[in-house]
């Protein structure tokens, strides 16, 4: 039995997450991820007008909202056997692409960047040299 490390809360995510890691001899032996929040959206959805489902489902996450909404809309359409016009499919694809672009930027710069960038050292960086370095590796 090694050392148990608990990290709670995990920050820069949507929701509340706890990670437990068991370290033995410098190696991770076991790890557990546990969600610390349950809101019961599935229970709340029961018995409601299916046209409203997307709005409830979308509130699962405000960072990646669009995908939850579209998934819910597709599930309802599938259950009702509805056929989606081609133009509507185009519109949805455009919405999803726009969301993908937006979400990548938010996710990298606002959420995960601090895991990869040491902010304190970054402040000592020389912007000119950094730009030059970037130039040498880009086309």
């Amino acid at each position: 039995m090694g050392k148990r490390i608990t990290i709670d809360p995990i920050t820069r995510i949507e929701g509340h997450l706890r990670i437990d890691v068991e370290v033995d001899g410098g190696k991770v032996r076991e790890a557990w991820a546990s969600a610390q929040m349950w809101r019961g959206i599935e229970v709340i959805l029961k018995g409601r007008d299916p046209r409203d489902a997307w709005a409830f489902t979308q509130r699962i996450c405000g960072v990646c909202t669009t995908v939850h909404a579209i998934a819910s809309v597709r599930a309802v359409e599938d259950a009702l056997g509805l056929e989606i016009p081609l133009n509507a499919q185009y519109v949805r694809n455009i919405i999803l692409c726009a969301h993908g672009l937006h979400d990548h930027i938010v996710h990298f710069y606002h959420l995960s960047a601090l895991d990869w960038v040491d902010v304190v050292s970054a402040l000592k960086a020389d912007p000119k040299k950094t730009a030059e370095l970037a130039q040498t590796i880009s086309d």
């Binding site: 929040m37 959206i41 018995g47 509130r59 699962i60 405000g62 304190v120």
Partner: protein, 392 residues
Amino acid sequence: MLLKISSKEVLVVENIPKSYKEGFMSAWNLDRREFLKVLTAAVATMGFPASFVDKVEAAVATKKKPTVIWLNFMECTGCTETLLRASHPPLGRFLLEIVNLEYHETIMAGAGAQAEEALNRAVKNYKGEYILVVEGAVSTKDGGIYCQIGGKPAIQILKDVSKDAKLIIAYGTCACFGGVQAAYPNPTGAVGRGEVIGKDKLINIPGCPPNPYNILSTVLYILTFGRLPEMDELKRPTFAYGRRIHDHCERRAHFDEGRFAESFGDERHRKGYCLYKLGCKGPVTYANCSVLKFCDVGAWPIGAGHPCMGCTEPGFWDTMTPFYEHLPKVTIPVGEGIITDAERIGTMAITGAGAVIALHAGAGVIKSGLKKKKGEPQIMSSSDEKSEKEEG
């Protein structure tokens, strides 16, 4: 090094050498034009003339930055997202720079023990001075176990951190009134902030999500005038929530003239007619969306052809659903001579909001509505039938 567990590794902003901080800030700083643009929008939101921009600017420049502790509970982080929207960096940066943000789980570097320590330190160091912004509801059922942070129920954290706050801003409908998780049957016993520790020191900025200009304007108002803005009985600033969506709706002329979209994508919908029959809750929803709009590009649901869902009102997930069924008891203008009707509906909607809520509340109504629709192949048609009946 930022994520090490040892308490010595906590990233403290004050430790950054001043010169770095200045260099960093100036490279990113808003230019004065953008700064004034944001200020002007905020002042307009408060309902003041442009001459107040100077006053607000002076307050921002001279007064001490208020310390903010931002807590996330049962929510989707959509409210924080409104502040971080990449399409208008000035607003997000501006809001983050006029306040001293000590704790915010969605954007802070530290995690785990570091985060807990940062929160405890902020509460201790700024005792009685800090503004607490709450995003999300808290669970009251089963000891509040449905939302825990650092092993502590959210409701306990809320009580602890509220105690020494100077002011509490509930940002978003979840924090104000319980939000989506409080919808029937509310499996976690979710409630808004006011129900946990009373309405003292409380300002509600509801919306799902709220417009970021409304929290910005509220903070600037307090900073400039040193007092709370005027609020309604639901503790919402009246400059933002004093008028109905319907009052300033760009489609209002169509309503007054009796021109309605009957179903999504029909000719009337394409022409931009009133969305009332498609389920618009604008007549009973108090918010400034129709004036302020979103994302600095003039976009908002009704502008995009979608009815208002009434998201700034308490319990809207139950009282305003089904979203695509129109409000009962609203007289719709038809043909000529409708101006009196339009005015009557104005007063009726105000006094009748309670009745509407009572009519819509509860699962019984929802279930009977569903039952009626069984076997209907065209799911969008039910609202049309209903409204025709009412007109006839």
